[in-house]
């Protein structure tokens, strides 16, 4: 316990710094993921479902590539640092958001889409006023899932010089200081839990009142 306190006092500012970096990498990757995967998911609902399913399977395969390998592959192209770390994490965020957006929008009752279309809604109006509000709970749970995982995986960013709490863990490994490993791990877990809680609140706030059971 004493060593833990010592480590905390000597690494205190460092810890704050690393937590900031960690958050930055995770948030940047998830925002990028939402910006790409939500429109892409909606786009997929507009093409034949066979093609869409194939595309989603393909993205699924990408996701099975070990994260360490992705980081290693990206290095020759993007070098080291924060940017390749964000891009690697972004790739992992795409699938859950994409899949949930696609499923959520597809599950919106077809008769509502027909009613909207028949009353003269443009495609964009149908997406904005019918599909997105109704698919929102499903899309949000995809985003929440991706965020929680990304915060955990962001520790690997340290491997390619991206910084974050992973730095502390790697230092702990190299210097054989278990307390440093703990110091990197615990905040990452707490961050994930907080993010999950905040996003749950956001989800509740955004879900149309009538849909909350």
């Amino acid at each position: 316990m004493q060593t833990m306190m010592d480590t905390l006092s000597s690494y205190g500012w460092d810890l704050l710094d690393k937590t900031g970096e960690h958050l930055y990498i995770s948030i940047a990757a998830i925002v990028l993921g939402v910006l790409v995967a939500v429109p892409l998911g909606i786009l997929l609902t507009r093409i034949p479902s066979k093609t869409a399913d194939r595309f989603i399977s393909f993205v699924g395969i990408l996701q099975t590539v070990p994260s360490l390998a992705i980081l290693a592959f990206l290095m020759p192209f993007l070098g080291v640092g924060v940017v390749p770390a964000i891009i690697a994490l972004f790739i992992y965020s795409v699938l859950p958001i994409l899949r949930n957006t696609y499923t959520g929008v597809m599950e919106v009752n077809a008769s509502l889409k027909e009613a909207g279309k028949g009353m003269g809604m443009s495609t964009f109006e149908i997406i904005r006023k019918v599909e997105l509000p109704l698919a929102l709970p499903v899309i949000m749970s995809g985003i929440r899932f991706a965020t929680v995982y990304l915060i955990g995986w962001a520790t690997l960013a340290a491997f390619i010089g991206g910084g974050g709490l992973g730095d502390l863990i790697f230092d702990g490994l190299n210097l054989y200081k278990p307390e440093l490993i703990v110091l990197g791990t615990v905040p990452a877990t707490i961050l994930a839990l907080i993010a999950n809680g905040l996003l749950s609140l956001l989800e509740k706030g955004l879900t149309p009142k009538a849909l909350i059971k």
Binding site: A115, G118, M119, G120, V130, L134, A210
Partner: protein, 382 residues
């Protein structure tokens, strides 16, 4: 108003066209019902009007303009649309649902709300329903809102795809009646799809019977029941219905006694008694100077008030059930028998007294059905 010229729809991968060289004219204010077995092309025909389905060849003209030459979104906003699944947006309040097309047309909030209030009063739902959500309403109430939504921006033409098909029979009945009344008041052109012959007979000015993508027969309900074009139509109508067709298609106006015995509300009770005595009846319909039905007065009311009151309007009962002269006899008969009343006054749209249907009138009807027709005029008077 609406015209089909050689309209054909061939879906890819089908051997036969779903709609084949269809020609039809619909006049302004007409209530047209497309009916036929499933797969006959009736829904396809309707959906081609607002281009949910695009015709393969031919022209569809709305007010003389080819629908294919119009902006599809604007075209749909100018045509009301009601579907069987109702399709109210579950995340919007009833008011927002009604105002949906208004909001697409960028109406301001006050105008939308005003219109929603105006409309909801038409179907006798309280105004505070506007802030509720669709799932808090019953199926019948939901479809009332579905119909109001189609009326919101006052389109001259409304398309209805089996709108009452998913409702229970009692709710369906009352909605049909309510809607027919609304349509007459608002002078809308309606294109209505159903597979229910009862519904078609009840609502239509013109029934269009379709089979295998073609029109088999088009005409008034009366025409079709009396002169079915061929065996298909006969089968489709059903033999029973042909036998019963008289009460099915006869309107109250056709059998009512147009000269009921009435008294003006300003008359004295003495005059009322004299009239009852002279005409050998025990009750009189009370009207005002303009012939508007006010109520009725019978011999018991006069007897118990003769010493205290002088004039008819002081003793009459105002709550008297009346039927519209355009309603179907079938429905009127049912109501009369259920209410156990011996007569029902018949009124026009503005509640002006037009005639009376008595139990004797009904007896004549039944007599004629059993022993064949004879001129029932005159004998229908009590």
């Amino acid at each position: 108003m609406l015209e089909f010229k050689d309209v054909t729809k061939q879906f890819e991968g089908n051997d036969y066209p779903s709609v084949h060289k269809l020609n039809l004219k619909v006049e302004r204010g007409e209530f047209v019902v497309f009916i036929g077995p499933s797969g006959c092309g009736k829904t396809t025909t309707m959906k081609m009007i607002n281009r949910l389905i695009e015709p393969s060849s031919g022209e569809i003209l709305v007010d003389g303009v080819n629908v294919l030459k119009q902006n599809v979104v604007q075209l749909r906003r100018s045509i009301g649309y009601v579907i069987q699944q109702i399709g109210l947006m579950p995340h919007m309040t009833v008011g927002e649902n009604i105002s949906l097309v208004g909001s697409l047309l960028k109406w301001n909030k006050e105008k939308q709300q005003e219109r929603a209030k105006e409309l909801i009063s038409l179907v006798d739902l309280p105004e505070d329903y506007l802030t509720r959500y669709p799932h808090e309403l019953s199926g019948g109430q939901q479809q009332r809102i579905g119909v109001l939504r189609a009326l919101a921006v006052n389109p001259p033409l409304i398309l209805m795809d089996e709108p009452f098909g998913a409702l229970d029979p009692i709710t369906r009945d009352s909605l049909q009646e309510e809607f027919k009344k609304l349509q007459r008041e608002m002078d809308k052109t309606i294109v209505f799809v159903t597979h229910d012959m009862d519904e078609a007979i009840k609502l239509a000015d013109k029934i269009v019977i379709m089979n295998k993508g073609e029109i088999v027969q088009a005409g008034t309900p009366d025409d079709i029941l009396r002169h079915p074009a061929n065996e298909f139509v006969e089968d489709f109508i059903g033999k029973d219905r042909l036998l019963e067709s008289r009460p099915e298609v006869t309107r109250v106006e056709q059998i009512m006694n147009p000269n009921p015995i009435t008294i003006e509300e300003e008359s004295s009770l003495k005059e009322a008694i004299q009239k009852m005595h002279a005409k050998r009846v025990d009750s009189l319909l009370v009207i005002d100077g303009a012939g508007i039905l006010k109520g009725y007065v019978d011999i018991e009311m006069i007897d118990s008030n003769y010493k205290k009151k002088n004039q008819v309007y002081e003793v009459m009962d105002t709550a008297k059930y009346a039927v519209d002269k355009n309603s179907l006899l079938r429905d009127t008969m049912y109501r009369m028998l259920r209410r156990g009343s011996s007569y029902v006054p018949v009124v026009t749209d503005n509640n002006k007294l037009a005639g009376i249907v008595t139990r004797a009138t009904l007896a004549d009807m039944v007599y004629n059905t059993i022993w064949g027709e004879e001129t029932a005029e005159g004998s229908a008077i009590e």
